[in-house]
């Protein structure tokens, strides 16, 4: 009985902030203005196949870059002494404490035609080159905002590896590269899997970032949903339907990521969602 009482706040929270909104999304997505059941909204979603594909594609690219950069950073950090590691991890986390919009504005300042980089280039006599409103700018924004979520889980799975295992590998004839391939990397897969999930999902569903850095031609699903609720075309029914489809897509992606984890048969897997 006591357990239930302790659980009450959590259950109430779940109902109010998770279950009810989900039901509402489902309801709006499958009804028209008069409240009648319809599949028209879902059909509308298929007007935006390019946006969905772009979201997944950009999310995939950003995740791939985060994985490479994040893994290397985490690996280097994990080889340092404990004191230095702590400082570097705080530095990695520091951007998380800053406002999301502020970070995008500063990125815009850096990338603009009259911005920081072009300013430096022109002072050396180079011609300006356009970086704003490109796919690259959007990916950079994603990487910049979500890299932390890749580094942290990988780092913690790397430092968890027993130093003795590395000694044992060396002892059995493996050089550093072999030790990495056969011991360090496989044992860090749980961290990689949570890192991928934590970067890919927010990247795919992000908005604003894409609108501000990518311009019209780089709209993502998030921006389209935003438009249907707060933007020019007000239609919560279609907006909900798009959200619904996005959720299902992400659910499938999470399933695939989790499958990778299971194949690795790791005992102490980090939980994904």
């Amino acid at each position: 009985m006591k357990k239930r009482i302790i659980l009450t706040p959590y259950i109430v929270w779940c109902i109010v902030f998770i279950i009810v909104p989900m039901v509402l999304v489902l309801f709006f997505g499958l009804t028209d203005e008069s409240g009648k059941f319809t599949t028209r909204n879902l059909c509308e979603v298929f007007l935006y196949p390019d946006v969905f594909l772009r979201s997944l594609w950009l999310g995939f690219k950003a995740t791939a870059i985060c994985l490479v950069v994040g893994y290397l950073s985490a690996l280097i950090i994990s080889r340092l002494n404990v004191k230095l590691q702590k400082i570097l991890i705080i530095l990695v986390m520091l951007p998380m404490w800053m406002n999301f919009l502020l970070k995008i504005y500063s990125l815009m300042f850096i990338l603009q035609d009259n911005g920081f980089i072009n300013g430096i280039l022109s002072s050396f006599g180079f011609s300006k080159f356009n970086m704003m409103n490109t796919e690259g700018a959007v990916i950079l924004g994603m990487v910049y905002n979500f890299l932390t979520y890749m580094i942290l889980p990988i780092h913690s799975s790397l430092v968890e590896i027993d130093e003795k295992l590395l000694d044992a590998a060396k002892d059995l004839g493996a050089n550093y590269f072999m030790t990495f391939v056969k011991v360090i990397f496989p044992l860090s897969i749980p961290g990689i899997v949570s890192g991928i999930a934590m970067v890919f999902i927010p990247s795919v569903s992000t908005f604003i970032l894409s609108k501000m850095l990518g311009g019209r031609q780089n709209f993502l699903v998030g921006d389209i949903i935003d438009m249907h609720f707060l933007g020019g075309i007000y239609d919560p029914h279609i907006g909900s339907a798009i959200s619904l489809v996005l959720m299902i897509l992400l659910l499938i992606c999470t399933g695939i990521i989790n499958q990778l984890q299971n194949e690795n048969k790791s005992k102490k897997g980090a939980l994904v969602i």
Binding site: K164, K182, P186
Partner: protein, 374 residues
């Protein structure tokens, strides 16, 4: 065949200006079972790390079959280590763990399969190939590490207190199994332990260490029966250590009496330490001996009784199979071959009688008697 497998020459190691090993030299012979024995902090694990290549000594050289390997990384040495906490790869099953070294060496699957089977058979773990490590007991895991190390055909196997985490019965079985494996494979075993009984029952040679220095090297029988100094005598088992003076060859005086002994070659009047093992002391009726005393405590140990006998306020430890009550007056008798004389060393006086068993309790005891006095 070369008789000299590994040779450490003048090796010194400092940790934060603290000397762990000081000008240490040791020759390990081919195919021998050598044990490094000593209390924690004596430098035995450090020596193992140097041979394994995990630590480069600050001074001195290491030779492997006459080749200088002081700076050779561990993965290029034909030496393998059995780690104390197993260090098995948790993401691999038993088969893959044993196959690890061969996979690194790019052996064919066929070769690997044959070798893994052979190794697992050697450690009595057939049919465990696909088992998950989590489902194995401590002893089984330890045997997997042995199979894994032997699978790469090392010339030397280093064992860092491999049995410390196992319970007594299992430890004894593993001692026998390790010894058998060593016989079958003819590999040089360098075994590290702080358990003197383990060292005595397994080794061809024992190296007794303290504070980074060799106290004695010899066969188990030699080290036990003829310790070179008070430290070795004390560490190799219970021992009564008394101050004595040599009168002549085969004649020594201690505890206020003269005794015949088997030792010669000392100077006349030379001060020595006398060591007498508790099992060698014979308890007799008080009228049959000059050395009379009172039993102050009796502890039943299973095979024997361990009693403390106060003779002229020196506390002797004696082991007998016959029970005698506390408070009884008895005599003790010693024969020439019970008495072993040792030259005085810096350890003389550190190990006294059996007022207490450990230094820690001795200090507490001293402290208490001082309090009572004041």
């Amino acid at each position: 065949m070369l008789n000299e497998m590994i040779s450490l020459q003048g090796v010194s190691v400092f940790f934060d200006s603290c000397k762990v090993l000081d000008n240490f030299s040791l020759i390990i012979k081919n195919s021998e079972f050598i044990t490094l024995l000593g209390p924690s902090g004596c430098g035995k694990t450090t020596i193992l790390k140097i041979i394994g290549g995990f630590l480069i000594p600050d001074k001195g050289r290491v030779f492997f079959q006459n080749k200088d390997i002081t700076h050779t990384p561990p993965y290029k040495r034909n030496v393998n280590t059995i780690f104390q906490n197993y260090a098995l790869f948790p993401h691999m099953n038993v088969y893959e763990n044993v196959a690890f070294g061969m996979r690194v060496r790019k052996k064919t699957e066929r070769e690997i399969a044959i070798k893994v089977k052979k190794m697992l058979k050697m450690v009595s773990l057939e049919d465990f190939e696909t088992r998950d490590l989590m489902s194995l007991s401590g002893g089984q895991q330890q045997r997997v590490t042995i199979a894994r190390a032997l699978a790469v055909d090392p010339k030397v196997l280093l064992l860092d207190e491999p049995l410390a985490a196992l319970d007594l019965k299992l430890r004894k079985d593993m001692q026998i199994q390790l010894k058998t494996i060593q016989h079958e494979t003819n590999i040089t075993f360098v075994f590290v332990t702080h358990d003197q009984e383990e060292a005595l029952s397994m080794s061809d040679r024992i190296v007794v260490l303290d504070r980074g220095k060799i106290q004695q090297i010899g066969s188990p029988i030699k080290v036990y029966n003829e310790p070179e100094n008070a430290f070795v005598a004390d560490f190799m088992g219970e021992s009564n250590i008394l101050d004595g003076v040599i009168l002549d060859d085969f004649l020594v005086t201690f505890a206020g009496r003269k005794f015949r002994c088997l030792d010669k070659g000392f100077k006349k009047k030379e001060k020595v330490d006398i060591v007498i093992r508790p099992e060698d002391v014979k308890v007799v009726k008080p009228e049959d001996s000059d050395l009379k005393g009172v039993i102050t405590s009796v502890v039943f140990k299973g095979v024997h009784y361990e009693m403390i006998i106060d003779v002229d306020s020196f506390k002797w430890m004696v082991q007998t199979t016959k029970f005698i009550e506390v408070g009884s007056k008895i005599g003790i008798k010693l024969f020439a071959d019970d008495i072993h004389t040792m030259r005085k060393s810096k350890y003389s006086g550190e190990y006294g009688d059996y007022s207490t068993f450990s230094d820690e309790m001795y200090e507490a005891y001293e402290h208490n008697t001082n309090l009572k006095k004041s």
